[in-house]
């Protein structure tokens, strides 16, 4: 009885091929739809400003529009419109961006602030991630292995600090940093992001460390290791995946953060998120330049997500489900 055999083979736990195909089609359709805005960011970054705002939209490079590096040029430079006589009085253009600008009746007057902002993003995101993960690992181990007075209250408190709206946190931090001279400094931002991230790090890592059997360390300590050596040589290697997953989370938060950055930094320590929306060209937002800035800013995270998706998935579901 092949029919009956088929039906038992495809129990509810094993959906039928048709159901699978339908499910797959719907999910893929959603995924493609959700990808469109991201693809559009990339496409806009290689369009000229007129192409970027044409109607109907131009979709295919080389077919509908000629790709150009103008957006990237505009992202990295500041330009000023000048009279043809003034431009004619200048020495010939020495690079492609300058030439492109001259072609539009403008001169490049200097570099834009995008690169310093991007560097700030890198330093602050990595600095705060490393700090948060180190502090978080230590504290998580402490909470996991030792009896700490008021442990549950402390843990609950650590987590509840994340319920404060960022603007509410920013008010006293603004005043505090003003007194300490930490306003608009990388150190100030690193400390702030660390304090936000450390609560998540402790919570996630405590879960990971809880899963490592105590017997391992105890055995090591019987062999003559100190507690600290046991921690370094036994626990840490076991917790690597958890630490990696936590680090990705901290990094993504710090990389993407906007509210604190826009309120507490103005230039020297400003990161890319508050800067990218205010990239403007001559009159109006320069959408290809904004798209170029956005593309460069998103690429590292896209790469991270795709390369480290296993750890990421584990971290998200693990963190959520434990809480």
């Amino acid at each position: 009885m092949p029919a009956a055999g088929l039906s038992t083979a495809h129990s509810i736990v094993e959906p039928t091929p048709l159901a699978r195909r339908i499910a797959g089609t719907i999910v893929i359709a959603y995924a493609v739809l959700a990808l469109i805005p991201l693809v559009w960011i990339g496409l806009t970054s290689i369009k000229s400003p007129p192409d970027s705002i044409s109607y109907p939209p131009k979709v295919l490079p080389w077919v509908d529009f000629e790709p150009t590096i103008e957006g990237y040029c505009n992202l990295f430079t500041t330009r000023s419109r000048q009279t043809p006589e003034y431009i004619a009085s200048l020495p010939p253009a020495d690079d492609r961006c300058e030439a492109l600008a001259r072609g539009k009746g403008m001169v490049v007057v200097g570099p834009s602030n995008y690169v310093p902002r991007f560097v700030n993003s890198v330093v602050i995101a990595f600095g705060s991630t490393v700090l948060a993960v180190v502090l978080g690992t230590l504290a998580a181990y402490g909470f996991s292995r030792f009896r700490v007075p008021l442990k549950d209250d402390l843990l609950f408190f650590i987590l509840s600090t994340r319920m404060m709206p960022p603007i509410a946190v920013a008010i006293p931090i603004f005043l505090m940093y003003r007194e300490l001279g930490l306003s608009d400094t990388r150190l100030g931002m690193i400390l702030l992001y660390t304090s936000v991230n450390v609560s998540l790090a402790v919570w996630l890592l405590k879960g990971f460390i809880d899963e490592i059997p105590r017997e391992y360390e105890e055995a090591a300590m019987i062999d003559g290791y100190t507690r600290l050596q046991a921690f370094v040589k036994v626990v840490l290697p076991q917790a690597t995946t958890g630490i990696a997953a936590t680090a990705i989370f901290c990094l993504i938060f710090a990389w993407n953060e906007y509210a604190f950055a826009v309120l507490l930094t103005s230039g020297s320590a400003q990161t890319a998120p508050p800067f990218i929306p205010i990239i403007i060209g001559e009159g109006g937002q320069d959408w290809p330049a904004v798209a170029a800035g956005t593309t460069l800013f998103l690429l590292p995270i896209l790469a991270f997500t795709i390369l480290l998706r296993k750890q990421l998935l584990r971290g998200i579901t693990f963190g959520a489900v434990r809480k």
């Binding site: 502090l135 509410a168 008010i171 993407n256 906007y258 509210a259 991270f304």
Partner: protein
């Protein structure tokens, strides 16, 4: 205080493990525990607790951060009465509530559906899950800013696609400028970004259901419909509720995306609480007033979250 914290953090960091080990070899577990936990506690004390206490104190004064030299006066609970009786604040709270409810309702339905479909384990579901995940990894500010471009009435891709599907002229509706549409413009972007998050947690929930329960149901010849309502949904419910909790807290605090998409406009149609707070604190510089508002918001989130967690625990125990 941050001075000590700074040196503590540095001290902890600069010392190599060997050096620490040598110094603390004789330390008891108790000492190790405190050595491990205290840096975090000190950091949180300096950058969370102390500011929180300060905010509470400020909320009873007329302090303004843009007049550092003006005398600070204790005014008691005046700001609290002022805020709780201010109709504009209540409008902002309603806007926030509507945004939270609408966005989360849609994300939950959509996220759970997607999770259920992914749980059919079609070929390549892992890859497509990662693709769906991408939006939630990105900076809401940076991407939200780009959405203002997609929403442009004449040149925006969103309007173009809507008009392509429905036949409505693309410049006949303005997602960001229209009083009725602008709240939805925000909900759409939020949904686009955060449905994957709900989806992931729901996938975890669905995977946590032991197969033997389904097998038992099959032996009872329960229909697929009944299996869904009596097994799948109830057993995944704690997970769904968790996702709702996290999204709820996040969206209650929502600032970046709204700030970049509409800035609270048109008029005050999309002025969520965080935007009002930002205006009071960092544009009008009414530090005392905004501190009181901040405390009210914090207590609200905290209170609602706690009530919700109680409900969640009850569901879990069932």
């Amino acid at each position: 205080m941050p001075r000590t914290l700074n040196t503590l953090a540095e001290r902890a960091a600069a010392a190599t493990p060997q050096a620490v080990a040598r110094r603390v070899r004789g330390l008891s577990d108790r000492a190790v525990a405190w050595a491990f936990i205290s840096p975090t506690i000190v950091l949180l004390l300096a950058i969370n607790i102390f500011p929180l206490v300060w905010t509470i104190w400020l909320s009873f004064t007329n302090y303004r951060a843009n007049r550092p030299n003006a005398p600070v006066r204790w005014i008691g609970g005046d700001w609290y009465t002022d805020i709780l009786t201010n109709p504009d604040i209540w409008v902002a709270m309603q806007v926030t509530a509507r945004f939270v409810i609408a966005s989360i309702a849609i994300q939950t339905v959509l996220g759970f559906t997607l999770a259920w479909l992914i749980d059919r384990r079609f070929r390549g579901h892992g890859v497509w899950t990662t693709v769906i995940l991408l939006p939630m990894m990105l900076s809401p500010a940076v991407v939200g800013n780009f959405w203002t471009f997609l929403y442009q009435p004449q040149i925006g891709l969103f309007n173009y696609m809507v008009s392509f599907v429905t036949g409505v002229p693309p410049s006949s509706f303005q997602m960001l400028g229209d009083v009725t549409l602008s709240p939805w413009a925000i909900v759409i972007v939020d949904t686009w970004m955060w449905t994957p998050y709900v989806m992931l947690i729901c996938v975890a929930g669905l995977r946590s259901i032991p197969e033997h329960i389904y097998e038992a149901a099959e032996i009872d010849r329960a229909s697929a419909w009944r299996r869904f309502w009596s097994i799948t949904l109830p057993m995944a419910l704690p997970f769904i509720m968790l996702a709702v909790l996290f999204r709820g807290i996040e969206n209650f605090k929502m600032f970046d995306m709204v700030n970049l998409l509409t800035g609270g406009g048109p008029g005050s149609t999309t002025e969520v609480a965080s935007i009002t707070l930002k205006r009071e604190a960092f544009e009008k510089w009414r530090t005392g007033y905004s501190s009181a508002f901040a405390i009210i918001l914090f207590v609200t989130v905290f209170g609602l979250a706690n009530i919700y967690v109680k409900a969640l625990n009850r569901v879990k125990q069932r």
